[in-house]
Amino acid sequence: VSDRILAGASDLEILRAVEPVVRYTHGEKFFPMAVDPYIRASSLWVHVPEGVDREIVPEGEVELERLVESRDAPAGSIVYLRFVHPLDLQESAAALIGSRRLEKREGSGFRAGLGRLARGGLLPRLGDGLFSLSLLLRGNVPGATAAAANLKYAQLLQGDRAFVYHGRVVRQAGWTVCQYWFFFAYNPWRSGFHGVNDHEADWELVSVYLYEDSGELVPEWIAYASHDFHGPDLRRRWDDGIDLELVGSHPVVYAGAGSHASYFRPGEYQEEVPIPAPRRLERVADVSARFWRTTLGQPGGEHPLRIPFIDFARGDGLGIGPGEAAGWTQVLIDESTTWVSQYRGLWGLYARDPISGENAPAGPMYERDGSPRLSWLDPVGFAGLAQVPPPPQELALLESERSRLQERAHELDELIASEVGSLRELGVLLESTRGNPHLSGEAHRFEAQAQGQAARLTGLRRERSQGEALRESLERRIELRREGARGDARAHIRRAAAPVPPAAMRFNAAAEIWAALSLSLLLIGMAVLLVASPSNVWAEFVVLVIVFILGEAVLRGTFVRVVNRLAVILALVAVVVLVVEFAKLALVSVLVALAVYLLYQRYEEFRG
């Protein structure tokens, strides 16, 4: 079999044997690169809390040795690299023009396609608009940084256009884990692809889990780090025909445009980004979403504090890896690699964003706060594999568990027999105390003892019964394993990212134009009402918003869903109004209804 590797192979050979194929979206500007040229082209800074940011090492003088050397800094300081130096107005304009020219020359422009704006609806777009406005208040990566980073990256590539992964092989709990760390100079998701954030530097991870069998390493699982997915949901089994695409022994990754997040299948993914909100507001939103879905049984009920964004992972751009237009350059890393273990700072600009979306990430080994990164310190637990034995160990473990259960069953049989005997002895004693008032104290004692023993006996019998059921299930699994059956490759997945079906993303041109204009039109309409009819402005705002929502629903073909949602919301408000307005009448009605119901019940009893 082509995907087998000798257990004694070198780390580099193992990495190369199952290295991924990564397919990017057309329009992607930044690709995996080596860290050295990036470091050399950056400056090193420190952010001191409540103070100004200070340059420690200027651009062109940062070498690996200087990056990792120890420095005194007050608690709470953040050391960071800066790929693009602060730009003045003239430099910003030059960067934007230069980047546009480069894009044109390389034909690397990106088109979101029809439907991007219309797919979210009016309210999510309003949230999107507010989110964009929040960037003015939060710290963020300055406007022209992406363009300047694009130009600088292109300049760096002129010297050496190598596509690099930083590979690490780690052996843990019977698994051989190949980690592929991809480093990017910039993450232009917001500025280039209508996404959530921009930040300097980006690290992405793909892990392959292999086990040893008869002197060979066999790949069993693969995990892609992705937005909002954790543990078992990150991984797919090597024989997962639904999600996993293989080119020979190489898994295929579809990278999100700008975000570089990894996906198993090509397509456009709708991501929901939580709006940072006070905990109390979060709780209210949770309760209302649950009330909508569970109590009212209504469809939808999306969390109101989430903004939908699209991650384009079309896979129609450059492909890197075996059989693709470009190949990988491998760089081995481990704890002895100094920049991995000794540099705890950020790999790009610290933008002072309190929710961190625009701050650069730390390296493979650390989180932004300098604490160890789970994927590095526990690669097996990271993908929820801590409780999953490698296949060759599974049968032995199953058999050992079966033996343990059988032994426990024998023990329980003996314990049950003994408990039954002693309970009967107690029962005889208890019966002999009946009719003897002078033995009432003894009778109470025996009774209490008997009750305790009976409860214990029930517990033992329950354990015996459950153990038997578990043993039978183990038996079935052992049989399946002996026959070579693998079980469901996707049984561990609770939630899987799936591309949005094209039909759900494409709207007609009218809906798209309306989507582009509606938010501004709504605001202009409100402004006009404010001037023209200031006395009834709130009522007119409400009517205007409802008209916009219904009009948009007609264009998007979602009128039935929207009218249902609106009617229920209005009815709920009306219920509150009626209860408040007619509290006394409502109370009287409830009491009379209760009285009639109880009378009816008594009448039924009397009759029957």
Partner: protein, 128 residues
């Protein structure tokens, strides 16, 4: 030849709402006819004509609901949105609120909202 539509069982709340609509429609129709036949100013005649139109519309929607037509459910809900918006705006910002109409519209919307009613009308296809 078109395929026969599947026979859907009508949930009880739909019958009540339809009867309510028939009653309200009948009221509008009768008062409308009376106003038109009385004659008088053009605004009174227009008001009467509007009442007749409303009464007829309510009757048609009720008939559609009794026959479990999807469009009838949509029409009821649209009516609910318009009516409730009108009454709620009157309550919060203006005067002359018709709380009886608000209560009836609320009842109608809540009666037509449950999952089984939507499934019966074919608005939602799955019980998920």
């Amino acid at each position: 030849m078109t395929a026969a539509e599947p026979v859907r069982r009508r949930p009880a709340p739909v019958t009540y709402v339809a009867l309510l609509a028939v009653a309200a429609g009948g009221y509008h129709l009768v008062t409308g006819i009376l106003r038109v036949t009385e004659g008088g100013s053009s605004s009174k005649i227009t008001e009467g004509a509007l009442g007749i139109a409303l009464g007829l519309a309510a009757g048609v929607i009720a008939a559609g609901a009794l026959r479990m037509r999807q469009w009838a459910w949509v029409a009821f809900m649209t009516w609910g949105v318009v009516g409730l918006t009108n009454e709620l705006l009157r309550h919060f910002f203006y005067e002359n609120v018709n709380y009886r109409a608000m209560a009836l519209e609320t009842l109608a919307v809540l009666a037509l909202t449950p999952l089984e009613v939507q499934v019966a009308f074919g608005i939602r296809r799955e019980r998920t």
